[in-house]
Symmetry: C2
Subunit: 287 residues, 2 copies
């Protein structure tokens, strides 16, 4: 299982794919942007004109693209891998997409003897570069075991959550907790400031106790420094919050606090701050 395909060499995909090359795998890529094709050629990767052409040469294919439609296109589309992948090929989809779409795609692939894992990640660009991602996996446990050594090159924690789509559900849970916690920390820092108290002192004191979180530590610091260089862009967090609310709708569960956090992130993006880190929710939660 030395021949690995990679489709989707963006902010998250590119460092992940480079880590696979570094780990000694032969990488086969499909990309559109000439500078990406050039960079990966130099790094020793083989390049193809379509997912379909790529699929014939590999045993495992990663996808890491923005939307459900992009995943569907790469896997099931006219030039999709489904037309040429060998029986037993494993698709590892690291994209964050709709749970329902993942299930539907996995079912289609299975009819063609192609296995799929949904494997969305947490940890951002930094985690991708350093190979310290948290990877939330849905699909068959035995399929995960076959590719676990591969995933261990990319992440420090690999958790099998459940069947097809379970990884996407876990990712949705991850994103709403982060969104809601950013709102919570924003409100606390606003309360401190409006009360004439130094919010930096409050954050410092709270990091030691039950209010402590990765968000208070990392995003809270960004708020205090007014430094919203991403990190994780507001427009992507917005997309993920809406995916989570969509899943909540399908699952018949109410998430009022996640809904409020989503409204805030909508407001942030509509104000033109889509490229800022989503810690910039601080800027719209005082209104």
């Amino acid at each position: 299982m030395q021949n690995i395909g990679y489709i989707g060499l963006g902010i998250m995909g590119k460092p992940t794919a480079l880590n696979l090359i570094r780990a000694g795998y032969t990488l086969h890529i499909y990309a559109r942007r000439p500078e990406i094709i050039e960079e990966f050629k130099k790094a020793g990767a083989k390049t193809y004109a379509s997912p379909k052409e790529l699929a014939a040469a590999v045993d495992v294919i990663f996808t890491n693209v923005p939307t459900s439609a992009d995943v569907e296109d790469a896997l099931l589309g006219k030039q999709g891998i489904i037309h040429s992948a060998k029986a037993g090929t494993i698709v590892i989809d690291m994209s964050t997409i709709a749970t329902a779409a993942t299930k539907r795609i996995a079912e289609q692939l299975e009819k063609n003897h192609i296995e799929m894992l949904d494997a969305p990640v947490s940890g951002g660009e930094k985690g991708a570069i350093e190979g310290t991602l948290s990877i939330m996996v849905g699909g068959k446990a035995e399929v995960l075991e076959k590719v676990r050594p591969l995933l261990e090159k990319l992440g420090k924690s690999i958790t099998h959550i459940g069947g097809h789509g379970a990884g996407q559900v876990a990712k949705a849970c991850n994103q709403i907790i982060i969104g809601e916690t950013i709102v919570a920390v924003s409100e606390a820092l606003h309360l401190a400031k409006a009360s004439g108290v130094d919010p930096a002192k409050v954050r410092e004191a709270l990091l030691g106790g039950f209010a402590s979180s990765k968000v208070l530590e990392v995003h809270g610091k960004r708020m205090l420094d007014n430094d919203y260089k991403p990190g994780f862009k507001a427009k992507l967090h917005r997309k993920d919050m809406h995916l989570a609310l969509e899943q909540a709708h399908f699952a018949n569960v109410n998430l009022p606090s996640a809904t409020y956090a989503t409204k805030c992130i909508d407001r942030l993006v509509l104000k033109g701050h889509s490229e800022l880190d989503s810690a910039a929710l601080y800027l719209v939660t005082e209104e």
Copy 2:
């Protein structure tokens, strides 16, 4: 400064006071309940019939009582310490009360040459017993320095936040972050469950990443185990959330997410669950 007074020997006050005895201080207490008086007599404490009688014998007085009115009564009331405390006496109020009340009381005491610190804590009964509280201090920095060795027997982190009331503001921030994060974790676990995914697996996966928090770790575990033995009682967390909203009102800041969490905790208490740990918010956030 070996003679320490203590008023308010409840869930938090009792272990804190016992830690002071253990550290070698001579403890002077005022208490109403005979069993508490008995226990502290056995431990070597001196007991008094009123705060006023106690105050004449000590240099530092801790208060650790439920409400603003209780603090006011012990300090400024008919039998309050204000009538007999020596000039230079330091009051350390560990209660969680209104910021405005703290400021008013401190001002009154100061006119009588009595110093006050607001020093509410985080860390719960466990932190009180183990002497690992986080202590958020408001008042004069030089007064804090005089009693810092004392506080170091009780907490692992002692932060000077600002002037009178700043400790209470920090505590309010602490409580709203915890309340809002409990709601966030509840929603995520409900989403997982409603989607047919094991919430325990989701929690496990998320603990490694940006969604991680003390609340996901501790309160999330309580939710999964359906074990709401406190910890920190819902009725007390409710009181603190309302104090925070009151402070937000005075400070002219909107906290929509904290307001929603407060509504949830109101509902929990009104349903008769006031004695459960506030992680039981999980039970009312699916409605």
